[in-house]
């Protein structure tokens, strides 16, 4: 069974700091790597995604960096804010199917 390894499991960052979450995968059906953000009591929602014809994608304070040879991608949150406190999931398209394999999640807490 394909696995996606996400780290760290939890992260505490001071306000204004940089939060970094990593994801490593074994195989992918195609090159599309999303990050989802989940607030307590809510379902996950797409935060940012990359189709790696580029190695990096930036949207505001959020950046995805992608290393195809290493089969890794990461989420960087610049100038982290208390409102970013949430659980973050990476996802990888599973080979040969419509489904995605999700990472185990990273619980981020940004201290005010």
């Amino acid at each position: 069974q394909q696995q996606v390894k996400q780290s760290p499991q939890s992260l505490i960052v001071q306000k204004g700091g940089i939060s970094i979450i990593n994801c490593a995968y074994e195989n992918t059906a195609f090159d599309y790597f999303p990050w989802y953000q989940q607030f307590p009591g809510k379902g996950p929602a797409l935060l940012i995604a990359i189709r790696p014809d580029v190695s990096e994608k930036k949207e505001g304070r959020f950046t995805i960096s992608f290393n195809k040879s290493a089969k890794q991608f990461s989420l960087h949150i610049m100038d982290s804010q208390p409102g970013d406190s949430a659980t973050y999931f990476c996802a990888v398209p599973a080979s040969g199917t419509y489904k995605y394999i999700f990472g185990t999640g990273t619980r981020l807490k940004v201290l005010a």
Partner: protein, 117 residues
Amino acid sequence: DVKVTQSSRYLVKRTGEKVFLECVQDMDHENMFWYRQDPGLGLRLIYFSYDVKMKEKGDIPEGYSVSREKKERFSLILESASTNQTSMYLCASTVHPGAGGTGETQYFGPGTRLLVL
């Protein structure tokens, strides 16, 4: 505004009961998914459906079944609830990926927190 709704936010059931979780999407999406979310285990796929009356097992289908009679509705059924099925259940939907795979956003419902006593 896209929307995925789930029939209940919280459910409490007894061991052995038959449990129905309903999910409805208003986006005319072909694909629908049921996940369970447990601390430290992330989102695990139970079943998914890529068309009406079509279904495929996910990674943890044991103890569950599904039904998709209409495109907008996908039901998860716990035939005989057990305490190890206490969890958060999330429904999601997405369009078919494009030719060669283009990657499509999964839209999630708010979740149903199920407690089996």
